[in-house]
């Protein structure tokens, strides 16, 4: 008690915060003592501490920043109309020409609603034109422009605009395009700032992560983000402040977190978002209801879910794309005997998985501008008869078309059946905005293709990535969520598939399961057809690079036909056992070096003795 009194005498905010946190813990432990302390503190406030008693733990009151000077705003206008207007629109209403085909949509600045902040829920973000360094924790909007918003079309502007130019354009946006609120209005605005720089993080111990795992259940996080955090909870009923449907974050892809600031595995970013909420979305701030320690536990747990490599280390992120680095080789390891259909089996766990990046198919109509499947994880094993691919990917919804699809499985051109790309403007019927979460549901699906006669195609020639071409046909295996696994021959992007019935008995679906927002599909196919003749099917030769392309469909995104996700060319290779020469030749070389050494030493010795050789 004496301590608290002493501290409250000192009116520095920092100290009051400290007292507050102590106090809160006490309140939890013993309500009566808490009430007494509360009364004490309130009496202290009367002396002049301000509204400290309202502040959530970890926050401190801040001052509004000064208004930027007029010439800065004017300079910012020039930046805005060169770079930003194309998506954010002339009036900053998020309705530029780019907006119609973007999801998530560009920000509408007019309401002053900004997602990633250090300020309390509902408040304006931090913006101070004097604070020119990004990542200071004092300039949220500068950080957003500097690092972009991963997972959206907002790119990082670092290296493109100078810091000065970034501040200028923000001066313009905050004063001219934010229309309903004023960054400098002391009457209506306040800044309650998360003290992220001074709060000590709780280490991500097993205990803390375990606590976080329990807390996300208690705090009902899983209602939206799903039991395993793949964003599959309440994915279809969520709308933002403007009535556009949005989807909860997938915690397994931290590089897509809007607030990841190009540092996705940094737990502080998660702590910040959890503490301040995401304005304009159903994601609230949990600062009022959750202690700082619990917030760290939750952040640690969420961070622990993000995909990692086999050793549990963060994936290395490609600084050019802010996504995991890509290796274009999908190796297949040899195993003896049967290949297990259980992904948890030791043989599968031993085989490393590969990240395969997926983009929207935007080459031919109908183009897929809003791509919902942006990566898949692939593993492969082979034995003397078959090669098996285990493919796992996050999909918030299990989609199975009701009834029979109006087109045949071989049909590629399905535009006449309502699978169209979105042309209309936002607000009109058939626009992306109107169609989101509102599509006719088709089947989820996954497919991959190989060149049929790759042995005869000199590298680097390949059949075209999109279902091959007339000259070089593609061997396509396609699985759909209605349980079908079909084998096709592809002869071009606009050519319907040719079905190959005899092969279908030999390809096997070992597993197809959707669980908590993730598909696990395991497909087995023979290494070769019946005869050695490979006119029909790809023949797999050990140790050779065989080009491979992946395709994926999200039925709830209206994906069907060419409206899908597609990968670049990858290579699959059946890893050969190590041949004997690999052991012999290096030994021979080593012996050669020994001889050479002997020769050199003799020569040197002779030279010293004065002999001439």
């Amino acid at each position: 008690m004496g301590l608290i009194l002493n501290l409250t005498n000192n009116l520095g905010e920092q100290v009051v915060r400290l007292t507050m946190s102590k106090l809160r813990m006490n309140v939890k432990a013993a309500p009566i003592i808490g009430a007494a302390l509360g009364a004490l503190l309130i009496s202290a406030c009367v002396v002049g501490v301000g509204q400290a008693e309202d502040l959530p733990e970890g926050f401190a009151k801040g001052d509004l920043s000064p208004a930027p000077p007029a010439e800065m705003i004017e300079a910012g206008k020039r930046v805005y109309f060169t770079k930003c207007v194309w998506c954010h629109g002339v009036d900053g209403a998020g309705d530029g020409p780019g907006a119609d085909r973007l999801w998530p949509r560009p920000r509408n600045f007019n309401q002053g609603t900004f997602k990633i902040r250090h300020t309390a829920s509902g408040e304006l973000p931090l913006f101070n034109y004097n604070e020119k360094n990004p990542d200071s924790g004092k300039n949220d909007l500068l950080d957003t422009v500097t690092h972009g918003l991963p997972g959206s079309a907002m790119p990082p502007w670092e290296g493109i605009l100078t810091e000065e130019q970034r501040i200028q354009v923000l001066s313009f946006v905050t004063t001219q395009l934010v229309k309903d609120r004023k960054f400098t209005d002391k009457e209506s605005e306040s800044q309650t700032i998360l003290q992220l720089g001074t709060i000590k993080p709780v280490e991500a111990t097993e205990e803390s992560i375990k606590k976080g795992a329990q807390l996300i259940v208690d705090k009902k996080c899983i209602e939206c983000h799903g039991v395993e955090g793949r964003g599959d909870g309440n994915a279809f009923n969520l709308k933002d402040d403007w009535g556009f449907s949005i989807q909860p974050a997938d915690w397994h892809k931290c590089w897509n977190f809007r607030g990841s600031r190009q540092d996705p595995y940094n737990v502080r970013n998660i702590f910040r978002t959890f503490s301040t909420g995401v304005n304009g979305t159903p994601m609230p701030s949990f600062a009022d209801s959750t202690s700082v320690e619990d917030r760290w536990s939750i952040a640690n747990f969420v961070n622990s879910l993000c995909e990692r490599d086999a050793e549990g280390k963060p994936l290395s992120i490609d600084p050019l794309t802010d996504k995991p680095k890509i290796n274009f080789v999908v190796p297949s390891a040899p195993v003896e005997g049967e290949i297990s259909n259980d992904p948890e089996n030791e043989m599968w766990k031993k085989q490393g998985r590969r990240y395969v990046a997926m983009g929207g198919q935007i080459t031919h109509k109908p183009r897929n501008f809003v791509n919902r499947i942006d990566d898949i994880w692939v593993r492969s094993l082979y034995n003397d008869k078959d090669v098996v691919y285990l493919i796992q990917w996050d999909d918030r919804t299990k989609s199975v078309a009701e009834g029979k699809l109006p087109w045949a499985p071989t049909q590629v051109n399905v535009e006449n059946f309502g699978v169209k790309e979105q042309a209309p403007k936002t607000g009109e019927e058939g626009s992306i905005a109107a169609a989101q979460n509102n599509y006719a549901v088709y089947n989820d699906g996954i497919a991959f293709q190989f060149p049929i006669k790759w042995q005869e195609i000199p590298a680097p020639f390949k059949p075209r990535y999109l279902f091959g071409d007339v000259k070089f046909n593609a061997d396509i295996l396609k699985w759909e969520s209605d349980g079908s696994l079909r084998s096709f021959r592809g002869t071009g992007w606009d050519q319907d598939f040719e079905e190959r019935d005899d092969f279908e008995e030999k390809v096997k679906l070992l597993k197809a399961e959707w669980k908590n927002g993730q598909w696990t599909v395991m497909i087995s196919r023979p290494l070769k057809g019946d005869k050695d003749d490979y006119d029909e099917y790809t023949r797999f030769d050990i140790g050779k690079y065989i080009p491979m392309v992946f395709f994926a469909w999200d039925g709830h995104n209206g994906d069907a036909g060419r409206k899908m996700a597609v990968s670049a060319f990858y290579y699959t290779i059946l890893q050969p056992p190590i041949p004997q020469e690999v052991y012999i030749y290096p030994a021979v070389i080593a012996v050669g070096v020994v001889l050479l050494e002997g020769w050199m030493l003799t020569r040197r010795a002779n030279k010293k003795k004065g002999k001439v050789l």
């Binding site: 770079k83 490609d318 794309t321 080459t363 183009r367 075209r464 020469e581 690999v582 070096v593």
Partner: protein, 345 residues
């Protein structure tokens, strides 16, 4: 002098520790990020700091009487350059290019250690000492080398011979030779003589000098020229077409080529070959407008084989856009990057 040199040496040591820390993952590798746009200068100044740091270290060691043998200075510096190139530069430099840098830096180091007779003697003395093995220490050293060298070379050749599953390297021609003419929407365009119908002055005449004055300014940011805002209500002619081209770009092209035309669009991360970076002086700045017209209209599938038509996801835009829209997009791309299209003369 000494104080200055100690500071310089300290910086060198700190830099080295940081580099090693980043290589082994002790320090996050993005501690000092290489930023596109600043990168060449960043790399040069970093190397300069390192060299200064090493000079400082060597000076200090000398003045403290523990001179570092010239032989090891040379060897270690060469190793440092190789390490820096391999682990610091991003995107990674292919081995063949690193080998070239390695040779050049080897020659440079060799020239440095053999600049005069005295230096050269200093350099080769340690080698001769070990060869002759006159002292017990050198004898031990010689024995060690005699055993280690065959093992290392044998091990190295084992590693190279072991079947690897690295990505095969395939070289693609980014700007293949264009055809003489191209047929788009039923009309034939001769690449040598066709002109962008929207690159016009206020009288409606083709006028590249006029449009060149209205493009964005070069330099950081590439901002629009003063009083040349395509979004101005009063903008007409060329500037109005630029805006219309931008609208098409931001509904069709930015998904791959990016909001800043630098090839970093929303879907770009998934594709290989990566989308062209128009802000790079090696792309549209080097090409005629009609070449771009051909590439845009025919897309990846229309490339000759050296351009890898099977792998490019560039749409044949004649399937999506009208001829006018294609010309306007091209107009916008030059405006936004601040480059002049190359002309035939």
């Amino acid at each position: 002098m000494k104080a200055l040199m100690s500071v310089v040496a300290l910086i060198g040591v700190l830099g080295l520790l940081m580099l090693i820390g980043m290589i082994f993952g002790v320090i996050p590798s993005n501690t000092i990020r290489l930023v596109e746009g600043y990168m060449p200068m960043q790399v040069l100044s970093e190397l300069a700091i390192f060299v200064a740091g090493f000079a400082g270290l060597s000076y200090l060691a000398n003045s403290m009487g523990v001179a570092f043998p010239r032989f090891w200075q040379g060897v270690l510096f060469w190793v440092f350059i190789q390490t820096y190139l391999k682990f610091r530069i991003y995107p990674p430099i292919p081995f063949s290019v690193r080998a070239m840098y390695g040779t050049v830096s080897f020659v440079a180091v060799f020239m440095w250690v053999s600049a005069n007779e005295e230096d050269w003697k200093k350099f080769r003395q340690p080698i001769l000492n070990v060869l002759d093995a006159n002292t017990g220490f050198h004898k031990a050293l010689r024995t060690m080398y005699l055993i280690l060298l065959p093992l290392l070379i044998g091990g190295f050749s084992f590693m190279t011979m072991k079947p690897s599953i690295d990505e095969p390297i395939e070289l693609r021609t980014v700007h293949p030779a264009p055809p003489a003419s191209t047929k788009v929407h039923g009309k034939t365009y001769t690449l040598q003589t066709s002109q962008n119908p929207y690159r016009v002055n206020l009288e409606g005449k083709y006028d590249q000098d006029y449009s060149n004055k209205l493009i964005v300014e070069q330099g950081m940011g590439r901002l629009m020229a003063p009083n040349a805002n395509p979004w101005d209500d009063k903008a007409e002619g060329y500037l109005k077409y630029v805006r219309e081209g931008g609208e098409i770009f931001f509904q069709n092209c930015h998904f791959c080529h990016g909001d800043n035309l630098n090839g970093r669009g929303l879907h770009a991360f998934a594709f290989n070959p990566i989308p062209a970076n128009f802000t790079d002086p090696g792309t549209i700045a080097q090409l005629q407008e009609t070449f771009i017209f051909w590439r845009v209209a025919k897309g990846g599938i229309g490339l000759p084989n050296e351009g890898f038509p099977w792998a490019s996801v560039m749409p044949p835009w004649e399937q999506h856009l009208t001829t006018d829209e294609i010309w306007k997009v091209i107009l916008f791309e030059y405006w936004h990057t601040g480059y002049y299209p190359r002309t035939w003369d």
